[in-house]
């Protein structure tokens, strides 16, 4: 990562260009498993963002002190500490959410999104940049999971965040809150994201061509 990249770009890349779910396909296990409702998606995203922020800050501060031979082991210990803190706090303060997310909170430890950001970014950049990167990635992950959860909840239960949005006559598609619904929805979301990106790339290419022609003519 070049130091020239602006802070805003560092944050925004997590939202779309390097979105952990839609572009990098990281952390798909919780993405598919817990997004049966918008609240679950938001809760999972928030928990992951918290761990990502704390771990990125810590690893970035310690990056010069940790010998490279034991860096992965140290990263995992730091990540596991924050995940356990989130798990205990959630059980204490938000027992309902903790119950519905179940084993997937402890499993944030092995979410490759988090270890990936430590290895690729936090261990090579200063604390402020690491925080911004973690926040961008976390927000991108949270938004994607919330959207996925909301789509599945609307079709599978007729509600969003627990509020009824579909008419009473609507027959819920139970398949949408079953695992198959997660794959179907994520597949469609990836398709839409890819098609948007393709269009953007084509438009950029077209502009570059026009620019070249314009330069030649001049």
């Amino acid at each position: 990562m070049s130091k020239k990249t602006s802070i805003a770009t560092e944050f925004l890349k997590g939202l779309w260009d390097q979105n952990p779910v839609l572009r990098a396909l990281l952390g798909l296990c919780p993405t598919l498993a817990v997004t049966t409702s918008a609240v679950n998606g938001l809760g999972m995203g928030a928990a992951t963002t918290f761990v990502l922020l704390c771990a990125s800050l810590m690893i970035s501060l310690l990056r010069k002190a940790i010998p490279s031979q034991v860096r992965i082991a140290s990263f995992i210990v730091v990540i596991a500490t924050f995940v356990t803190i989130v798990d205990l706090s959630m059980k204490a303060v938000l027992p309902e959410l903790s119950k519905s997310l179940g084993a997937f909170i402890p499993l944030i430890v092995v979410n490759c999104l988090i270890l990936g950001r430590q290895e690729a970014f936090a261990s090579k950049n200063g604390p402020f940049r690491a925080l911004v990167d973690g926040l961008g990635m976390g927000v991108g992950f949270t938004l994607t999971l919330t959207l996925l959860g909301a789509v599945r909840e609307v079709l599978g239960n007729g509600t969003v965040f627990g509020f009824q949005v579909m008419p009473g006559s609507f027959e819920p598609w139970i398949v949408m809150i079953l695992p198959a619904g997660a794959f179907l929805t994520l597949g469609l979301m990836l398709g839409v994201a890819n098609s948007i990106n393709q269009k953007r790339e084509q438009a950029a290419l077209q502009q570059a061509r026009l620019a070249t022609i314009a330069t030649k003519e001049a």
Binding site: T36, L62, A65, I66, P67, Q69, V70, A73, S74, V77, V78, A80, T81, T84, I85, L88, S89, K91, A92, V93, P95, K99, G102, G156, P172, I174, I177, L178
Partner: protein, 219 residues
């Protein structure tokens, strides 16, 4: 050698800080977690045995039961029990009448059954327990036979309840009015969950009776 020491020192320091932080968080969180669990249990007891009640705990070998009183009068027994469901443990609380002959209510505290299918064990138990409580434990005319409740507990002739002798079984395709006091209607497309919950109920009442017999026939 220097690198080895540096590696060791790093891991030790990181591990120590991690352990310290977790110990602090645990000190703060564990009383709150316990309070949450106690609250869930209390609410379930209120739900199963409505009214102003006091409880006396009877516990042995990991089994917890409550004798529920109104003043001096024994209202019934509430028992927490768990067993294997379709994918994970199902944790339930059931209420028995004072003589422990009938099941008066059921609350599913925790389950990981298939959403929309197996989870009907929870929804239906809640629904019927609410009905039972409202209607003075007598479903009578409130039961609409044309509605197909996926799993039917506590619904037989007037004033009758499920048997608490540990002899419940799952049946298929019967009308609510035809069900006997040892029969529970299966959930369509969730037979495993239906059988599991009935097995757990049977196990729970047998365990409670064993526990009380061991304590010298408390009744």
């Amino acid at each position: 050698m220097k690198t080895t020491l540096q590696m060791l020192a790093t891991l030790i320091v990181v591990g120590m800080f991690s352990g310290g932080a977790l110990s602090l968080v645990n000190d703060w969180a564990s009383p709150l977690i316990e309070a949450n669990q106690a609250k869930i249990r209390d609410e379930a007891i209120r739900f199963l045995v409505p009214g102003e009640t006091t409880e006396e705990v009877v516990a042995q070998d990991g089994l917890t039961a409550w004798k529920v009183f109104t003043g001096e009068e024994l209202q019934g027994w509430v028992l927490q029990y768990s067993g294997n469901g379709f994918q994970d443990k199902i944790d339930i609380m059931i209420a028995l009448d004072p003589e422990r002959q009938e099941i008066r209510g059921l609350k599913v505290l925790d389950d990981s059954e298939t959403p929309g299918l197996g989870t009907w064990i929870r929804l239906n138990a809640d629904h019927e327990a609410a009905l039972t409580a409202k209607d003075d434990r007598n479903l009578g005319d409130e039961v609409d036979d044309s509605k197909n409740y996926p799993l039917q507990f506590f619904a037989y002739g007037e004033g009758q309840h499920l048997s608490a002798a540990g002899d419940l079984k799952v049946v298929k395709g019967k009308k609510r009015s035809q069900l006997g006091t040892t029969e529970v209607q299966s959930i369509t497309a969730a037979t495993i969950s239906s059988v599991a919950i009935v097995d757990i109920i049977n196990g729970a009442v047998v365990k409670l009776n064993e526990l009380l017999a061991a304590q010298g026939g408390v009744s």
